[in-house]
Structure formats: C-alpha cells, structure tokens
C-alpha cells in the first residue's frame, strides 16, 4: 500500500490537542500502527469508540443492585440490567466500583462523572470539560490513515445535538444525528468503494487541495497579536483544515481491497421521537451504518451517544421522563430498588446490546468486526437518584484484536475511573502512559484485562 503518512500533521494534531504523554519508544508503536497494509493475512486494525448512555444503571447504597455481578473475574453472572449483553458476554468486560474524584471540586450533576472518565479531570463548570477527551487522543494515534479521523454520532433525538468529544474542552463534536446524515457522511460524496475494480483518482481533489493551501497561507498573519483563548480557537480551526487535507490525500490513494465492506443502501427517513423505543431503533440503524463505515475503512474511531446525561428519554405514552423518574421514584421496600427506573435502564441497555450486536454481525478475518474493536461503554452517574459519581457503570466490549482479555468483571474498590480510561486508550493503541490529574492521576492500567 502506498498511503502517504503525514507524520508531521498527525504529531502537530496531537500536540495542539493535549498535553502529550509520549516518548520516543511510544512513537514507534504509533508508527507501526499506521499506514500498514491490511491485505490478506495481515493484521486487521483495531477500531476504538466510546458509547455513552445517560443516567447510569440501577443500584442503591443499601444493596439491591441490578447490574453489579457478585462474581469477580471471568464468568460473571448476568444481572437483570445486563441481560441485553448476555449473548455477547464473552466479549464484554464489566467495570464496577470505580469513582470520579473531584479533589474538592463540586460534583456538577450529570457532568462531572463522564467528564472525569473522558478527560481525567473533574471539570470546573458544567458547560466545558477541562481537557481533551480520550477519543481524540486515540484518534490522533490510530485515525490518521482513514478518510475520517473520527465519526461522532448522536442517536438520542435530544433538544440539541449531543457530543462528549472535544479537543479544546470548549468546542464539542458536531455529531451526525440522523441515519441519513450518517449515511451521507460515510457513503455519500467522497466515498470510494474499496472493492471497485475501476478506481481512478478524482481530479477535482487536487483542485480542492489548492483551495486549502490558500487558506493556510494566511495562518501566520491571522495568529499574530491574538489572545490566548482565540488562539486555541484558531489552532483548532487549522487542525480541522489539516484533517481535511489528510482526507483529500487519502482519497487520492487507491483504497485497499476490503472483503467485509458491502456498501449499504441509503436509509429511509425515520420517525423523530425521544421515547426509548425510537431511540433504540435509531441506535440500531445508526450502529449498522457505523459498523459498515468502520468495516469499509472510512474511520477507525468514533463516539456514539445513545442518550444524553440527565436523559430525557421515556416510555412511549408515559408523561414522566427517565431523569425525573430516577429522582422521584422511591426505592421499593420489598424489592430494594426503584422498579420503574430499572425498567428504563433495561430498555436503555437494550440499545447497547443492539449496538454491539451490529458490530458483531460483520465478519472480518477469522472473527467479527467487534473482535477487532474496543468499545468503551460509559455513563454519567452511578446511582442516579443521588447523582452518585461512585460506581459509574463502564464496559469494554470487543477483543481489541486479541489485546483485550474480555468477559470479566473488574471490581474497582474505589479506584479512580481514570484507570479504566487509561486501559482503554492503551488497548486501542494510543501511546498514553499516564492519565488524569490530582487524585485521579494514574499510570496504572488494569492489567487483568490486558492480554
């Protein structure tokens, strides 16, 4: 394969995106992971993504958990709210008992939890994160040779498009919110079928490249005498320009053949609604498209939002939203948990189960696409009724090309959530040796799940 690997632009992207925890040995790892051909017999690439759903899973401080297995290690039992994952259990690890630690910073409700997992920092305000999210670090490491460095998807049909992916902490991703939008991005204009017998470079791409060089020519003049905050904005703008250049460069190369890539048909417009049945249907449709986008080498990294934090999804025909129910519903004395809340949690997990099933449905090499992925599932809270940021449910799904010792339950015993985050980045192939700040700073991945 003759793909040109613009090492400099990727490095620059990393530098502007974050504090870099990267020494030279790590750089070798990173280079090896890039620009390598994945033709017959060669190793298939690892794909990475985060999957977020709102409001955690149900348990109560007095016991009565609906999701934390009793057994630790391999062969954990399927708890009621994990039921939708049962058929994929061997490919899924469950993480319980990890916590976000603010070191004196307030628990910003429905914000601190996932911000801590994704950035390693408990944020100061509830409109921003205080650092880049881990998916951008992974994207910088493994996303440079595909058309898209990363794909952001929001299936939630929320009031605003939701993304928890950010480089600056301030500007969040601009997600695809409809199946048609996602389809168009992945398979619309600019898509090149890797299995097409008569590939030719598109001459208009070179014209587009000249457009971008005119923009870049002015970079220095624009960055002169500008304030810090504005400089961050402009840097991100030019990072986006470079990603576009990279995209065009990839499109000028003949794509490698790709057995599992079958270009899907355009999806139909779907009903819009926030009830959980519609959100799950949306999730399934978008998961299918995303899976094929990954299989067709359009991207190796994604972020997927099923429902936003403080989720407003609900059971169709009922007046109360999930968020409200988690707070208002009393714990049933006999059952020991909140029954309505748990019912919704089961529905929400159904979405995750369907998402993973779609990833597992694509055959790739000896196994499935999911076998070559690491999907990090996470939420914003533990026990949502009290906005707990202890015991936030997290999952690793997929074998990460054999690197993930899947199918285990890991009990965190109060360890910071960042240990899980660090492990995820390392399994995905990002050269990150340390993650988080303050008490959440860690350089200890969870070795039990690393093969």
């Amino acid at each position: 394969m003759s793909l040109k690997f613009d090492r400099r632009s990727i490095l620059r992207g990393m530098l502007s995106g974050s504090a870099v925890y990267m020494g030279l040995p790590a750089l070798d790892v990173f280079l090896n992971g890039n620009g390598t051909a994945f033709a017959d017999g060669a190793k298939l690439p690892v794909r990475f993504g985060t999957y977020f759903w709102g409001l955690g899973l149900t348990d109560t401080p007095t016991g009565g958990t609906r999701w934390v297995p009793t057994k630790v290690g391999a062969g954990y039992e399927i708890m009621p709210e994990l039921q939708p994952l049962a058929s994929l259990k061997d490919k899924v690890s469950v993480f319980s008992g990890f916590r976000a630690i603010g070191d004196g910073r307030a628990n910003l409700v429905h914000w601190t939890g996932h911000a801590s997992i994704l950035t390693g920092i408990a944020p100061a305000v509830s409109t921003r994160f205080d650092g880049p999210t881990l998916d951008t670090k992974v994207a910088d490491a493994i996303g440079g040779s595909t058309r898209f460095r990363s794909i952001d998807v929001d299936a939630s049909v929320s009031r605003k498009p939701v993304s928890y992916s950010t480089r600056s902490g301030n500007t969040f991703g601009s997600p695809e919110t409809t199946p048609l939008g996602l389809y168009t991005r992945l398979f619309g204009p600019g898509f090149q079928d890797p299995n097409s017998p008569n590939w030719k470079p598109d001459p208009s791409i070179m014209l587009r490249q000249s457009v971008l060089s005119a923009v870049k020519d002015q970079r220095e003049a624009l960055l002169a005498n500008v304030g810090k905050a504005d400089q961050v904005k402009l840097d991100q703008y030019f990072t986006s320009v470079r990603e576009m250049e990279n995209q065009l460069a990839v499109q000028l190369q003949k794509p490698d053949k790709c057995e599992s890539c079958v270009v899907p048909a355009a999806p139909k417009e779907v009903a819009r609604g926030a009830s959980v049945d519609i959100v799950n249907a949306n999730t399934k449709t978008m998961a299918k498209l995303l899976a094929m986008g990954l299989a067709c080498n359009q991207s190796r990294v994604f972020t997927f939002v099923h429902t936003a934090s403080s989720s407003e999804t609900y059971i169709a025909g009922q007046s109360k939203i999930y968020h409200q129910i988690t707070h208002d519903e009393p714990t049933d004395a006999k059952l020991g948990f909140q029954p309505e809340t748990s019912k919704l949690a089961e529905q929400v997990m159904k979405g995750f189960g369907e998402f993973l099933t779609e990833m597992d449905a694509i055959k790739e090499g000896e196994g499935t696409l999911l076998d070559h992925m690491l999907v990090m599932g996470l939420s914003d809270t533990g026990y949502a009724k009290i906005h707990a940021i202890e015991n936030i449910p997290m999952f690793f799904a997929g074998r990460a090309g054999g690197k993930h010792k899947a199918g285990q339950h890991i009990r965190g015993a109060g360890d910071p959530v960042t240990r899980v985050s660090l492990t995820a980045m390392q399994l995905a192939g990002a050269p990150v040796g340390e993650f988080g700040t303050g008490t959440m700073k860690t350089s200890r991945p969870i070795s039990d799940v690393i093969a």
């Binding site: 304030g227 819009r272 007046s319």
Partner: protein, 537 residues
Amino acid sequence: MASDTNALKVAVRRVTETQYRHIVADVFGPEIKINARFEPEKREDGLLAIGTAQLSLTSSGFEQYFALASSISEQALSEKQREKLVGCKPADPTKADDACARQFIEHYGQKLFRRPLTESETQARLKSAGVGAKQANDFYMGLRLALTSMLVAPEFLFRVETAEPDPANPKQYRLDAYTKASRISFLLWDSAPDDELLTAARTGAIHTDASLKQQLTRMLAAPRYEQGARAFFTDMLQLDGFDNLVKDPAIYPKFNQSVSDSAKEETLKSVIDLLVTKKRDYRELFSSNDTFINRPLASVYNVPFLSAGDWVPYTFPQSSERSGILTQVSFLSLFAHPGTSSPTRRGIKVHEIFMCTPTPDPPADVDFSKVQDSKAGTIRGRLLDHMQNTGCTACHRRSDPPGLALEHFDGLGQLRTTENGAPIDVSADLEGVKLVGAQGLAKYLHDAPKVPECLVRNVFAYGIGRKTGIKDEDYLADQTKAFVSNGYHVPDLMLQVASSPEFFKVAVPAGARSALSAETTTPPVQTAQSSSQSPKN
C-alpha cells in the same frame, strides 16, 4: 487590518448559522440554496451570541463548510449567474486572466471578509484561480476555487475583531473602523455591512458620532432590520430549541413538525409586529393578546380558522386565560417535557430569559427521600415536596412559582383546568408577590423593573459577544434609564446602545501582545469580564 503590526485582535467570534445564511443571500442573492448541517451552537449566559463566540470549528464542521462553500461557488458562478456576478470578462474564458480574477476576488473578498483583502490574501486566491483555470481550461472554474477558498477562510467564518491605537489617545486602543461597521451590522441586520457602511469605514467617517448615528438610523429604517431583530429575539427567546423539539404522539396527537415551525413563526411574527412595526412598549410583550395564527396553530389553540389564507391576525379574548408571549404555544411547548408540562423548567426560563436571573444547578447530594411518587393529583403536590426539602427549597421556591401560574396550559400549550381529575390551582407566590394564573404572572412581569434591565443587558451582550460584568453595571443602569424614559421602544434601544462608546470599548484579551506598552500582560483598558475569565478552554 491583518498586515498592521500594531493591530490587536480583540475577539474571534464564530459566525452563526443565520449570519452565514444572511451574508450569502445579501452578497450572492436569495436564490442560492444553502443545504448543510451547521455546527451546533452553544448558549452561555442566556445567549447563543455569547456561547458561540467562544467556539471553534470541529473537523466535521469544517467538512460541512467546505462542501457548502463549493456548492455556493458552483451556484454563484453557474453559467446563468456569472454574467450578473462577475463585473469583467476574461480575455479568453478557457484561460486564467489575472486582471479579471483580481477584480472579482477584491470585490467579493471585501464583502465576505467585511474589510478589504490584504495583498497577500488576494495573491493566495489569485493562485487558486490560476491553478483552477489551468487544470480545467476554464476561467470560471478558477474563480470558483478562489471563491470557495474565501468561503472556508477563517476571516469569513469568524468575525476577527481588531483594534488599533487610538489617534486621539495613543495610550489606548480603539476598534478599527471595519470592526465597528461589522458590530453594528451584525447587531441590526444579522449580516455583513453593505457597501455604504463599508465606505463609511474606509473613509473613517464611522469614527465620528454624526456619521455613526446617520448609519444607524439608515440601517434601522432598512428592511433588513427586521431580519436583525428576528435574529436577536430568536436568540434571546431561545427559539432555536424548535430545531429539535419532540413530543409524545400519544399524549399530544396534535403536535407535529408544522405545529413546531408555526409556533416559532407565530412568536417572531407577533414580536416583530408589536415591537418593530408598531414600535410599542416592550412590556406589552406580556400583556398583548394580539397575535398571528395559521391552521395548525388554530387547532392547538382550539379556535376556528376560517381564512383561506396562510397567516391571519388573531386576538385572544380575556376568557382564554392567555396573555402575551408566555402563553403562546412556543414558550409553553419549548419549556416542557415530551409528555407533560414542567412548572420548574418554565419557571427557570421565565427568570432566565426575561429577568436575566439564572438558576443554579441543583446540588448533587439532595435527599430525595421526602419526594413521593405522585401518579395521582397535580404536579404542584410533587413540587411542594421539593419545597419542604432544605436542599431544594432555595431554588425551587423561586423557580417554580411562575411555572405553577402557567399550569392551566399543558405541555403543548393547550388550555386545561384539571390534571388527573383534580382541579389545577394556579396561584403562586413569587418573591412575596401573590399572583394568580398566566394573566397574573404577565402583570407581574409587565411591572417588574428587572424586565427592562434584562432586555438592555441582552442587547448589549448580544452585540459585543461577551457576558457583562461588574464594570458594565453603571453603563447598563444608564442605558436602562434612557430606555424607560424613552417609552420602552426596542429600535430606539438598539440605536442608543450601538451609538454609545461602550459598545466599541476594547478589552485586551488575556495573552495578547499589546503594542502600546512593554508589559504585555497589563492591558490599558479592560473590562471586568476579560480579567476574570479563565483563558483555559
């Protein structure tokens, strides 16, 4: 100007979706189709104008702008359009022609960048035009590339606000003339300056009070002022929420996309009619029952619609319990849940939108044990439980009453007097004032001094693109006083704000190198906001 080493960039504000659309329509004509998904905007301190000013572009956003720019260039330079748009003819249409290309680039560059291009900016585009013409054997393909590159340039997609040393006071900065022109143009028109305003900037006339006032008066009288006022009220009233509003179809069968679009339009139509066309007292927003309805809305309001036309004026009778903007479908449905009303959300929004008083986030560790599940009875009961809880009471006691007063309207805005068979009590106690129902709440807001104060603050913050701070308080108080004594007229308020020196005051951003003194970190002029704001983001 970008080449001036003494120039200081005081702000880089992303152009909003509506601004983008308006500029393209103003420069290339309304027939240009804009079909793209824009980057999400962000509301801070009540306004998208503040939040979005702090945003950059993601790579997927840039992709969208890139595709959109190509599409606009293609349309604008189609064989049909190019005659109208390009003021010169190439010597040979199959070859590059630098002279004609330069004329095109300079002409449209100035409109898009809202200032003349520097020579190096022009050169960069001339190069694109040359490459394009050569590769495609088509002069106009070259122009397309040059235009595309201007439409994806940061100087177009962001408002780069620039200051220069003030000749009258060399120790201080002043906004340069083009930045001033853009500020007033985006405030009043939600679009880029027109030729006349750019001329006032080029000659420097805009720095004089007389010329500034003359421009403002002209702009307020222009038809484009309506689009500017619409943009302002869309932002302030948070009508962007309609882009994604959903309702449960079983609970609100009358709700659909056309109701959603109509509700937004009803509010904008009635606000513009009242405050811009008729120039009425701003406070009548809460008391006027004059509105406009169409067929989908008539069904929700449960009133007959007998016209064959699209929109007709309509006045709600006193018995409808409606009163002004708070009882329009837009406010009532936006600030509710998919399957129910929400007194808390409505209450929070009454405080935030009309009185500029935000409600803090709920505490994390609230004890909800007293809150009982109430499938029966009214929502008031459930909220009263919150009020008995010490962790909740401080905020809910303030946030809920306006919403409780609006409870005769369900989550879509339909009138009802019972919930689950129980009569709904719409009396409320708002900071010691007892009031009943929507009409009582409307009266309260009509008379509340915070309401005009809040509007003045919003107009100012919307124009300058940052939240106001302690140092702005005296100025805002003076402006409010003037607004009140001039009879609460919104266009006059905009004139008054945009002609005040504070509107153009320079706040040197943290980390910028000042050319005026050796110590770069101590800006000569600074507002409370710029010093308190953390540069970390």
